[in-house]
Symmetry: C2
Subunit: 148 residues, 2 copies
DNA sequence: ACTAAATAGATTGATATCAATAGAAATGGA
DNA sequence: TCCATTTCTATTGATATCAATCTATTTAGT
């Protein structure tokens, strides 16, 4: 038979070494683990920290803009809010101006958790920032933003 | 009372704008959606494509090195293999040299799926590559690797 | 050979992610 | 006002992710 079509190993190596999607997913997993480990004493994951920090605003935002800011699906946001609500750190209330919508806000306890997490974020971020050359962080942020 | 401690909004904006973890997670989600959409006709997600491509080797690798290459937890790899095994694209066999371990290999059908997916990857990757300035892709890969 | 330590994966439980779909409420046009 | 459309969110089902824990096997020290 021998009618099987194969991709040469050299092509595999090329894809592995160049695929931006793979490189970003890989870095995302590594950074998530790093921040999850660091933030664990505060009781937060990296995603929960980012979400709660994005809720620390003068006015409670609706879900749509928050999901867009985090570049996540709205259904993902709905799910991500559940554990934070259970812990009493986030409040989800009906928007009186538009009863389809919800308004998200931090509770006093939620704000206290963020206060505890902030210095951890600062030191962890400074650590990974130091792994990049001067100006590398800003360059990286711009490159990543260009992909979105 | 007013004993609630708050983080100033300016700090929130600073964290949002500078957090490399958030920027990488955000880009990871956006890129995953982009490649998932593109690869859907081939029946693969971006992660499945990367995993199967990494199995396209002369010798079937054990799980550990594959998980390390993809920077993912070994338990994640175990779970990710399940749907691919069910579809008959990947074979997981006991390593005769070390009966604790497994050897991963693509089936003929799995290789055929990869062949179908490769041109989709190429065009999609060229498209996002074009969003970066000249030399930006290589720079980005190096910056991301420095974080891992 | 025997046994303690190390290693390779699997399982469980919790959260994260998104597509597809459904529901409720607001909006706009007739 | 009425109805079709749009908008905002929730639910379901599938996969992805990791920590904690477990089993089986190999390796190393004796």
């Amino acid at each position: 038979m021998s009618n099987s079509i194969e991709i040469p190993f050299s092509t595999t190596l090329m894809v592995r070494d160049t695929c931006l999607c793979l490189h970003v997913q890989r870095a995302a997993r590594a950074l998530a683990r790093l921040f999850d480990d660091a933030l664990r004493p505060a009781g937060l994951t990296n995603g929960q920290f980012s979400l709660m920090m994005s809720l620390n605003r003068p006015e409670p935002p609706p879900m749509g803009p928050v999901a867009a800011l985090l570049a996540m699906d709205q259904t993902t946001l709905t799910a991500a809010l559940k554990p934070l609500q259970r812990k009493g750190w986030v409040t989800v209330m009906e928007n009186p101006r538009d009863r389809r919508g919800r308004l998200l806000s931090l509770t006093t306890e939620g704000k206290a958790v963020l206060v505890k997490a902030l210095p951890i974020w600062k030191s962890t971020h400074a650590m990974i920032d130091g792994k990049l050359p001067d100006g590398g962080a800003e360059r990286l942020r711009q490159d990543l933003q260009a992909l979105s």
